[in-house]
Every structure is written in structure tokens, then in C-alpha cells.
Chain length 199, copies 2
Amino acid sequence: MTETQPPIRRGRGRRPAAEVREQVLAAAGELLLAEGMAGFTIEKVAARAGASRMTIYKWWPSRGALALDGYATKVRTVLEFPDTGDIEADLTAQVLAFTHLLTGTGAGKVIAELIGASQTDSELSSAFRERYSAPRRALAVEAMAKAIERGQLRDDIDPQVVVDQLWGACYHRLLIPDEPITDEFAKSLVHNVMLGIKR
Amino acid sequence: MTETQPPIRRGRGRRPAAEVREQVLAAAGELLLAEGMAGFTIEKVAARAGASRMTIYKWWPSRGALALDGYATKVRTVLEFPDTGDIEADLTAQVLAFTHLLTGTGAGKVIAELIGASQTDSELSSAFRERYSAPRRALAVEAMAKAIERGQLRDDIDPQVVVDQLWGACYHRLLIPDEPITDEFAKSLVHNVMLGIKR
């Protein structure tokens, strides 16, 4: 994305590679949210972005990889990790943003399908982890590491486990919907994680 | 299972219905762990259990329902909820038993596939919840409700949310394997949930 390309004027029929890439990603994210994985094809993304299939295959090794990068691009703004210096406020804001994304947009169904399909598709599973979950996990771990340094969190906790307690809990209600994903749930979750449940 | 049936002697070619049912369930659980959902058919279960397909269809409305009941029967003993009167010990034992089941047997792969497939199969999703996850959730909630009465847990917590924090965290590592499921993880999880992470 930051590679330097000779500037080619628009209107002469060629767009800079970085711009094409952005448009392909945007098209992939939109198509995925509109049609789910069932309707997601490289052909349709190419048509939406006005790019060739060859161009897309040059950058993405598979349909799954393109879908995941499109999804990650689409939700990036919503899921930016706030850093106000108050870890409880930041975690609450982040978990609420995530649950709103899951329940209030088409993203919940899409991510459930992607995780579902990745149980029997190892290429999609790798794409999901490399292009979406691992980088997002790293952001949360980094925020908690800073909060440990600031003295807001116990220094004997493993932030990786806390990620599973917060986001894993949300995915649990998404994938096995015995109980609903509500704001009350999200707030309770962060509250329990911060304070513990022991009397 | 507790319906009264006239006792019919074995060797006369007929087994009591309750016995047939148990054998079908055992056969379903074994077949599922051996071959996963991909190799799971009502025909194979019927052959293993020496029962007719008609008999099986009389009790189970679908392949998914039979698979889930077979799975629940298979793991029931392993996942019995201990009640020693010490909720932290009981939750630790239960979460460890669950993580050992996920990592040390074929059950992890099977349950991941079942959850995966249930994202695009609403009948399987209902079967999963009705026959497996909801009853198991209820056991955990009941154990925590008792611990609240005993004064071991804060009385303002929602045990339903704690279920997501504990089991949801384990499912998270199973379904999106960015980080491994280890004993250390399981113990940390319960410890964090009990004590909280705030300094």
C-alpha cells in the first residue's frame, strides 16, 4: 500500500496500483456484507472494482484471503482501538463497538459464516487468522500491556487470556446463540473481567 | 428413557426400547468421534447399533439431532459438573475437563465441525442448542447460583455472562486457533474470572 508507484494520471485508463488495491478491498468488503460467502466470487469483486481477475490473483492467493482482507478493511474504522488512557473505558468502548458490529450490521452473519466454513477449510482458517483475528488480537494485547505499565491492570495477568474472555465470550453468543448479544451483556462482561466475580 | 415397557427377554430377538435407544446413542457418539460429521449417516448408525432406520427416525427428526444426542451422551460422564461446595475448585475442574476433552480426544474436531456447519444449517443449529449447549449452560448456571447462595460469588453477577467468559473463551481458542488450549490457559481463565484483572 505504501509502495511507490510512478504517478499515472487518471483518465488515461490506468489507476495507480495502490488505488486499484483499495478499490478491490472496498468492493470485496461490500460484496461480502451484501451476499455472504455463498455469493462471494473473485469474478464479482473484479466487476465491482473494475479490475481484472489477473490483477486480483496477483495480490490474493485465494477467494478466502480476498474475503478476509475485504472484511478487515470494511470493519477497520469501526473496530479502531481507542486509547484514552483508561483501560476499562477503552475495553468497554471496544467490546460495545464489536457487539454493535455483530448485531447491527450484516457483519455478524458474515463473520459467523467465515468462522463456520473455516472449520473444514484450512486455507480459509489460515486467512482468517493471518488477515483478521491475529492482528486484532495483537491490538488488544498491546492496549492491555500499556495498561499494565500504567498500573491499571494486575501485572500477573496474561492479556492473551483476557482477549478470549472478552471477544471469545462475544463470539460464543454469536456462534451458539443460546443467549442474546446485548449492551447489558457487553458491559457485564467487561465489568466481570475487571472486578472478578469472587465475593 | 424412563417409560415403562413390558420386559421382553433378550434372545427372543427383541430388546427393550430403552436399551435400543441407548445402543443407538452410543453408536452415534462413536461414529461421530471416529468419522466426524462428514462420515456420519443414519444408515451407519443403524448398522452399528443393529437397529432399523425406521426406529431411529421414530426418535430423532434429523441426522443432526441424532449426532448431537450421540455426542452429548458420549461426553456426559467427562463433563459431569462436580459439586464439592467450592465453586473455584469446581469451575477449575470443569473447565479443565472440557479443555482436555477438546484437545485430547477427537471431540474437539467434531464439536468445531458441528458448530461450523450449524452456521449455515439452522436445523443443526437448533439441535446443537437444544440437545447440547443449552442443557450444559443450565448446569453451569445452576452451580453458580448455588455458589451465590453460599456467599462464594458476588450476588450482582449474571452467571449467564460468566458461562460465556469461561466456555466461550475455550471455544474461541478451538474455533479461531490463534493461541493454544493448555492447562495454563484453563487455570488462568478461571483465576481471572474469579479475581478480576484490575489492580
